[in-house]
């Protein structure tokens, strides 16, 4: 049975959707539906689109004050609140303003005083969230749905395809991958995991019949200054890049959860290793020295 592959760019990443089990016309229609949903989410929540929903929220965040949000944003905020709670405050959607100083490539390291000043304007605890009203208790804040929206978009696209009757396929948004259903033969998809240290190389292959895999890492956006590596993933409490793990992949039922778990593990640094083991989810970690560990179906990549 033919597998139709659609490649496109969205959310700043190369993306692909693979669909099988229907004829070309039906498949194309369903792909367009999924693609439109991804674009809708990107339009609403991208930091780079002016005059979108997020920029409207951030105008209020900048000035301080409150606004009412729609149901979808409310659900994303609820989800972000759970991430904040479960990560002991490490996964924080208000961390974005730190990018004002951590702008790669870095010329110099930011002044500690600058970071302290910014950190005062960071923290989900400085936001009062009670559906549907979102109130910024402090001015000069900023929300950023990175780490949530791309993963959510992959899941949404997959669910749309399922609802349209697709039983075989997958959605891959720049490495955030969600399986719609196994191959028409019932066999799992063979998904190659690139070596984050040397992207041209493969670490190996895993097999996914359902579920999702997401990877967080700082290989692509990091810099070594005076022998020390600085990544783009920032600790909201200190304002400094987190250190310890370089890449974490997690397999979960949906891409959103897989993405959050991998991000939280990375934010936890070395403690993330123990935390992942306690969660007993299939995972793979690579630390800054290149050491690897993992469990479940990703252990084959060690």
């Amino acid at each position: 049975m033919e597998i139709h592959r659609f490649c496109f760019r969205a959310m700043g990443s190369p993306c692909e959707i693979l669909l099988a089990g229907m004829d070309q016309n039906q498949t194309k229609g369903i792909y367009e539906l999924a693609r439109a949903e991804i674009e809708r989410l990107e339009q609403r929540y991208s930091r780079y689109r002016p005059e979108n929903l997020l920029s409207a929220i951030n105008r209020v965040a900048q000035a301080g004050g409150s606004l009412e949000v729609d149901a979808e944003t409310a659900a994303l905020l609820d989800y972000a609140a759970v991430c904040y709670r479960e990560s002991d405050g490490l996964f924080d959607i208000t961390t974005g303003i730190l990018r004002q100083v951590w702008r790669f490539p870095l010329d110099t390291l930011p002044e500690p005083a600058t970071l302290t000043g910014l950190c005062a304007r960071i923290g989900w605890d400085k936001v009062h969230w009670e559906r549907p009203r979102l109130e910024f208790l402090q001015a000069g804040m900023e929300l950023d749905f990175g780490g949530i929206v791309k993963e959510y978009a992959a899941d949404r696209a997959a669910v749309l395809c399922l609802e349209a009757g697709i039983q075989h396929g997958l959605v891959n948004l720049g490495g955030d991958l969600r399986v719609i259903g196994p191959l028409p033969s019932g066999q799992p998809w063979r998904v190659g995991i690139r070596n984050p240290e040397q992207p041209a190389q493969m670490l190996g292959w895993i097999h996914l019949a359902e579920g999702a895999i997401a990877t967080s890492g700082d290989y692509l956006r990091c810099q070594v200054i005076q022998g020390r590596r600085y990544g783009h993933l920032l600790n909201p409490k200190t304002g400094w890049p987190v250190w310890g793990l370089a890449s974490v992949s997690v397999v979960a039922q949906n891409c959103l959860v897989a993405g959050s778990l991998s991000t939280i593990a990375l934010l936890k640094g070395k403690r993330g290793v123990q935390w992942l083991a306690e969660l007993s989810v299939p995972h793979l970690w690579i630390d800054s020295q290149g050491k690897r560990g993992g469990a479940g179906l990703l252990r084959s990549l060690l």
Partner: protein
């Protein structure tokens, strides 16, 4: 007869409870193996229906796999 019926009923009910109660959860992405053709309960329906028909006509007991199917002069 009635007694043995009751006995079976209680065995089945106990079985249902213990099966659904103790089975650890198997997440969807782990079910790939169970989706293999050889892991289905009846991987070869043509052959199994023939075998069941033969055993049914040569033994006093038959069936148990499902409902349906007709009688024949073979038994």
């Amino acid at each position: 007869m009635q007694r043995s019926l009751d006995r079976w009923r209680s065995v089945l009910v106990a079985g249902l409870i213990s099966l659904t109660g103790c089975a650890s959860s198997v997440d969807p992405w782990e079910r790939g193996v169970l989706a293999r053709p050889e892991m289905t309960l009846d991987p070869d329906p043509l052959e199994s229906s023939l075998r069941q028909h033969v055993f049914f006509s040569k033994e006093a007991i038959g069936g148990g796999h499902g409902v349906g199917g007709g009688g024949c002069g073979c038994n």
